[in-house]
């Protein structure tokens, strides 16, 4: 059995930052493995540990600078990694879900996985749509926002909980092969062990360009164009208490007492 996990490096932005054109100035940005993908990797590795003959392969769209992030997934137990990037992707501007799914589908067609796990969304652009788009392109079944997974490989069914709004979960049986988008909280992602980190260095990280996966630049032209980036105007009218922690705590205590909050 083969599980393909989509893994993305995302930008975490400092509390204070400056915008430079259509991006946040590099000085205020730290690269990290997308939180949702971390849970997807963990879920795949747990399936591998529970069954014989499971291979976990990660796939990433991104430049060579993302290799360090990809190695994090390898250190946590993925077997090998694939990264797709070239000048055409670099020049494409905003990669919309369709464009990303097109590239990922080309890799999936080659790898022929039984299960594809993606994060529900990425922490930076937050489209939340790449996984389901990918499923549809592959002609696979899918499930979005999965926070519990019970895999019956012989029966060919993934029994999942989908986390709906308002503290309600939907219980659904999904035929595999399928793409599942994984919600945080589904498991407890492990820290990479020192041994894992060492081993990750020698695991395969294949680098492909678009032509290597059978695509050409015209197929990845995004119809979406980002035209501005700005800090939203704050609507805040909060009364902010000033002073030392003791002073602000005292002011807040007085307010709470006025509101009828007492011990």
């Amino acid at each position: 059995m083969k599980i393909l996990v989509t893994v993305k490096e995302v930008a975490a932005v400092d509390d204070e930052f400056e915008i430079d054109g259509l991006a946040i100035d590099d000085r205020y940005v730290t690269a990290d493995l997308n939180e949702w993908d971390e849970y997807a990797v963990e879920e795949a590795v747990q399936i591998k540990e529970a069954h014989d003959d499971v291979e976990v392969v990660t796939v990433t769209i991104g430049p060579s600078e993302t290799d360090e992030t990809i190695r994090q997934a390898l250190a946590k137990g993925a077997d090998r990694a694939i990264r797709v990037w070239d000048d055409a992707l670099e020049d494409a501007g905003l990669l919309d879900p369709e464009t990303k799914a097109e590239v990922l589908a080309a890799v999936a067609a080659e790898e022929d996985p039984d299960l594809v796990l993606t994060g529900v969304q990425s922490a930076d652009d937050g489209f939340g749509a790449t996984g389901v788009t990918l499923a549809d392109k592959l002609g696979m079944e899918w499930g979005a926002v999965v926070n519990d997974l019970d895999l019956d490989l012989e029966g060919g069914v993934a029994s999942v909980h989908r986390e709906l709004e308002g503290g309600v979960e939907e219980l659904t049986d999904i035929e595999i092969p399928a793409v599942l988008t994984i919600q945080t909280g589904i498991n407890d992602p492990r820290y990479a062990s020192l041994r894992g980190i060492r081993q990750a260095q020698s695991k395969e990280l294949a680098e492909y360009g678009l032509s290597d996966v059978g695509l050409d630049a015209s197929e990845i032209e995004s119809p979406l164009e980002q035209t501005s980036l700005y800090e939203p105007e704050t609507e805040g009218e909060a009364t902010v208490f000033e002073g030392s922690p003791e002073e602000t705590a005292a002011e807040l205590a007085e307010l709470l007492a006025e509101k009828g909050v007492t011990s």
Binding site: D15, E16, L94, W142, T184, L229, A249, K259, V261
Partner: protein, 316 residues
């Protein structure tokens, strides 16, 4: 040049985003000089259809197939509706279920998809506003296509209360059952504890800023001093530091206490959706730019590890 908005319902209730979409859809339809259509699929379509007949809607399409949401059915039906009605903009909710079929529909219709839109206009081509990096920045996106699919963030548009005079028409969709490869078996309420946070008058709510599980002691101490209930934002529940039924937010509970004290909570939109109806909101957070201060009534922009114990002391 029309707009088609797909309604959402669950367990016999139309969800509010179904009506909010109509406000967004009416504005778009006016800008495009066209009609606003809405459609509801499955469940008590007659009652839902009547409820969707609000001011500004031209036609309500009812599709009497199934009871609850099934993404395979929705994908097929919405694709057929959009093919038949050929709307310039296809609106769907940016909900968990919306995101479970909208991308597949957009793919089948070969339309670009813009998700989680907080503002949109069609005056000079379609331009959508989205947030990036959590809620720290906003961005505008120009859609270079004749037709598009868009998912609308819940609670960003007003609800239309006035009844309309729309035509209500049954739509005859065909579902290929062999392509239905998922079966909804039922629903489950999340639990874990025995406290109902929606009953609390005062909530001491804690977020990622608490850093470590053992630091929660200062939160419990404060809650005890205030005779309040402890709740939390998603990361704490994901970490298993608080029971699932103490989660405030879109995927957790919606709470409306007299006083909501948000400690170390940045105020991501998913969290705010669950607590913005609180009477008085107090935020304690180191980051003065944290979005929680936008909706707070009172704030302390300082280190929670100093402020919280000092506050507890005030009540002891």
């Amino acid at each position: 040049m029309s707009v088609l908005a797909i309604a959402e319902h669950r367990r016999g209730e139309l969800r509010p985003v179904s009506i909010e979409q109509l406000a967004a859809g009416r504005d778009l339809a006016d800008e495009l000089g066209g009609e606003l259509h809405t459609a509801v699929i499955g469940g008590d379509v007659e009652a839902f259809g009547a409820d969707l007949n609000r001011e500004g809607v031209d036609t309500v399409h009812t599709v009497d197939i199934g009871e609850e949401f099934n993404h395979d059915v929705y994908t097929q039906v919405v694709t057929q509706l959009a093919t038949e009605l050929d709307p310039t903009v296809l609106l769907m909710p940016n909900s968990v279920n919306g995101l479970d079929y909208a991308p597949a529909v957009a793919n089948r219709l070969d339309r670009p998809l813009v998700t989680d839109v907080v503002d949109i206009d069609a005056e000079d081509g379609l331009t959508a506003t989205r947030e990036l990096y959590g809620s720290k920045t906003e961005t505008t996106i120009d859609v270079h296509a004749e037709q598009a699919a868009v998912t609308i963030r819940p609670a960003e548009w007003p609800t239309i209360e006035t009844d309309g005079d729309a035509a209500i028409e049954a739509f005859d969709a065909t579902v290929d059952e062999s392509a239905v490869k998922s079966t909804v078996k039922g629903f489950e309420e999340v639990g874990g504890g025995d406290i109902d946070i929606t009953d609390a008058d005062v909530l001491v709510s804690v977020g990622r800023g608490i850093e470590e599980e053992e630091n929660l002691d200062i939160i419990h101490d404060l809650a005890e001093a205030l005779d309040a209930t402890v709740s939390g934002s998603r990361p704490l529940i994901d970490n298993g530091w608080l029971e699932k039924d103490r989660q405030v937010g879109q995927s957790g509970k919606v709470v409306t206490p007299d006083v909501y004290i948000a400690i170390g909570i940045s105020g991501a939109v998913q969290h705010v959706a669950g607590m913005k109806g609180s009477d008085t909101i107090v935020a304690i957070n180191t980051d003065p730019n944290a979005p929680i201060f936008d909706i707070a009534d009172y704030g302390i922009q300082d280190d929670l590890f100093e402020v919280v114990p000092a506050l507890t002391e005030q009540f002891q």
